[in-house]
Symmetry: C2
Subunit: 142 residues, 2 copies
Amino acid sequence: TKEFDLATTLVQEKMVDAEKVAHVQNSNPLEHALLVLTKTGYNAVPVLDFHGKFEGIISKSHILEAMFGVEKIEVELLEKKTVSDCMDREIPTLLIDDTIEQALHELIDYNFVCVVDEDQQMQGIITRRQLLKEYRNEYYRK
Amino acid sequence: TKEFDLATTLVQEKMVDAEKVAHVQNSNPLEHALLVLTKTGYNAVPVLDFHGKFEGIISKSHILEAMFGVEKIEVELLEKKTVSDCMDREIPTLLIDDTIEQALHELIDYNFVCVVDEDQQMQGIITRRQLLKEYRNEYYRK
Ligand SMILES: Nc1ncnc2c1ncn2[C@@H]1O[C@@H]2COP(=O)(O)O[C@H]3[C@@H](O)[C@H](n4cnc5c(N)ncnc54)O[C@@H]3COP(=O)(O)O[C@H]2[C@H]1O
Ligand SMILES: Nc1ncnc2c1ncn2[C@@H]1O[C@@H]2COP(=O)(O)O[C@H]3[C@@H](O)[C@H](n4cnc5c(N)ncnc54)O[C@@H]3COP(=O)(O)O[C@H]2[C@H]1O
């Protein structure tokens, strides 16, 4: 089999395609985000704007923190908030022509990285699972 | 530098030591588990019994699901539950003399794996981040 090289394999060859990526919109109520996260089972998913542009991620951590009142947890606090109020926007992205070598650097600190085109439209995500499978395949190819 | 080999490196050389691992006890109220998960920032942590034996994991997902009533989310549902009621016990473990090669297999499907001794006492955890750092180090050693 062909030698797999991190520096010449593009992220678009190994990413999860956008149509398979669960996501929410920045204007969605927080309760809707909780429903998506609970149903899919994921801890965090990408947040897109109305035009499909990647804006950041929303996680179960963000939703739980949104419930914390001064003295106790209050579920009612979720009702008035949207994804946009609680999401994390400081998230690195990769371009479709970036390499798996660059993805590996980002995945040391993040569970997944969103892949975008030059208009910031989400094309897919590259996950830690994908990189670990490459690592395993490469090890047995030696 | 010495060549790193997955099959000859033991998990105990690369694991996060038990004293650095945030955990909860199976008898803790669910609210205490939520506090630990929120303060540490982790999505899931190991659950130990009174004697320090590994029993499974508790996650933010388990806690959110425990709040789901018939029609809406009810935080009061947390009060009567303990970690033991909601945790996941079907979690693989590794022994301290197992290899990083075996850890790689488990980490394809799990974010972390608990390392135990022959008495099931937790010795540490091996994480996906650790394996990805080895992958990166090995790639630049070529
Ligand atoms: N419903 C499910 N079915 C099967 N396995 C599941 C699963 N939910 C979680 N896992 C397993 O747990 C790992 C961590 O999931 P987590 O939700 O924390 O973190 C996930 C999640 O935040 C995100 N993610 C993965 N696939 C996604 C998708 N199709 N849509 C949106 N987000 C996704 O990327 C992170 C890393 O995913 P990765 O696959 O490396 O690693 C996943 C996978 O190995
Ligand atoms: N407080 C924090 N400080 C710095 N980085 C943080 C962090 N919380 C999360 N991260 C980053 O996010 C990744 C996923 O964390 P998660 O909590 O889903 O999943 C974590 C968590 O469930 C567990 N874990 C890691 N370190 C732990 C510890 N000291 N005690 C208990 N559980 C731990 O192992 C999983 C994989 O951890 P890994 O290090 O591979 O990967 C971590 C790490 O790269």
